[in-house]
Symmetry: C2
Subunit: 290 residues, 2 copies
């Protein structure tokens, strides 16, 4: 049985995350030795401009005021055109940037085809070795990232704005399934009520009428306390407990699958792929790599 | 060297797809023996209501009129509330449903968290053993499916409507990366020009100014011929050839990864997971399954 290690300061935490992110020698042993705490992991997702950062800042502000210790992971799409900008905006917005009870880590997403960082799961497991009261993950919903966040967080908060209206239709089916809490931010604007009704209707059709639809005005901290209460109570529902078990199994599968592919030489395969004719049989080709 | 088998009639094709989909005995041997043709695979994606089906029907109508053989895969989100409805709508809309040169296959998506059918890649590989002139995949963009389609198709057509306007913002970053052709359908409505300009601007920022933005009115077959021309020419660009290689490597990796997990007993793992305490270490836990 290996030693069980907790992490007690932010400097060690930051360094450990880096070791794991970069797959430094021995990173697997580090992961195995960490003693995770049972910390609620809350994901915030939604379209750019919905005010996720402002809302999250307000939520975190309340918790820090209560002396809570908070971990925050910011995930950015890797699109070259907005990476810097988004990160910059969000960091500037974080009024609590220098608070000694707040630990912030930014992760850029990996592939060109969307998808969360390959290491996000490991980073969160490392963070759980520090005795945070809450871990928050913020991601900009671009394609699959809002679905993937649901595989990492215990509770997923989907933030929308009134203007989203009918055209969130595109995302709705996916969002209906992942949201534990819907928030309509900037709810002082027109159409907030219409969007709320539309969401409630969709939730009902999907048999998820227990999912709350809240209204907030983040810049004025309106509705933020209610959101926090809802997050805490959602944590404890039976449905959530059931879903956590499913997510946990998916996480474990991903770790195992990654591990089984660990020593696979991707470059060698790519080189051999390049020599194939257009009409080669993929399944015959891969046989030698199995 | 196994025999290389082509498929020459739709009945055999349908039966072979079912064998592979259901993982019937020997399905892996079937996959290895198929002789794939070099067929362009075109993905159509976009929000519900954008008119993808109508547009695709118009495109397919032209090709069938030229005596071409067409394979069509319809992918539906598995959400219980809309599965039947969407499938029904699309099948009704297919004016060419009974055309002897058109083969249609519907696939429902699998998991509760979005994601394309686990078997879609295999189904398309089976279809490539029939000498189609084109294979089309249609999917409703809900979360990750529009990103995943880009991993399957040689060319991805993203269909939007003028009303989408600013609120496709949410999807834009992802769509910018996967689209080979943008289509603004229902372009006789207001705001078509504004959306076109907005897309062109975003494409420029993303260094993808070579991506065409077309306008169509599918119900009147306006712009459909131009779309078809664009699809054919996009097929042959160098960028596309480069991307195809990347996609191919990703496909191969998925096949290999699936295979390495084949004999893994998920249920046994789930049972053991259920016995873990809340603060167990995931990496220590999975060790016994590696």
């Amino acid at each position: 049985m290996p030693n069980k290690k907790s992490i007690t300061d932010f400097k060690t935490l930051a360094r450990t995350i880096s070791l794991v992110e970069n797959e430094a020698d021995g990173f697997e042993l580090i992961l195995e030795q960490l003693q995770p705490n049972n910390i609620p992991v809350i994901g915030f997702t939604g379209p750019p401009g919905a005010g996720k950062s402002t809302l999250l800042n307000a939520v975190i502000g309340i918790l820090l005021g209560e002396g809570k210790k908070i971990g925050l992971v910011l995930i950015d799409p890797s699109s070259p055109f907005n990476l810097g900008a988004l990160l910059g905006d969000r960091l500037r917005m974080s009024a609590h940037f220098t608070n000694e009870n707040l630990f912030i880590r930014s992760l850029a997403t990996r592939g060109s085809l969307g998808g969360l960082s390959d290491k996000i799961m490991e980073v969160i497991e490392v963070m759980r070795a520090f005795a945070f009261d809450y871990i928050f993950i913020e991601t900009v919903g671009v394609g699959q990232s809002e679905v993937e966040i649901a595989g990492l967080a215990d509770t997923t908060v989907v933030v929308l704005v009134p203007e989203a209206g009918d055209s969130v239709q595109a995302m709705k089916a996916g969002l209906m399934e992942i949201a534990d809490v819907f928030v309509i931010n900037k709810a002082d604007r027109a159409d907030a009520e219409a969007l709320a009704n539309s969401l409630l209707h969709q939730l009902q059709i999907n048999g998820r009428e227990n999912i709350p639809v809240l209204k907030t005005v983040a810049v004025e901290s309106k509705g933020v306390k209610e959101l926090l209460d809802k997050i805490s109570s959602t944590e404890k529902t039976e449905e959530n407990a059931k879903r956590r078990k499913i997510l946990l199994a998916e996480k474990a599968l991903r770790v195992i699958s990654k591990n089984r592919m660990k020593n696979f030489d991707v470059e060698k395969m790519k080189a051999e792929l390049n020599e194939q004719k257009d009409n080669f049989n993929l399944y015959r080709f891969v046989k030698k790599f199995l």
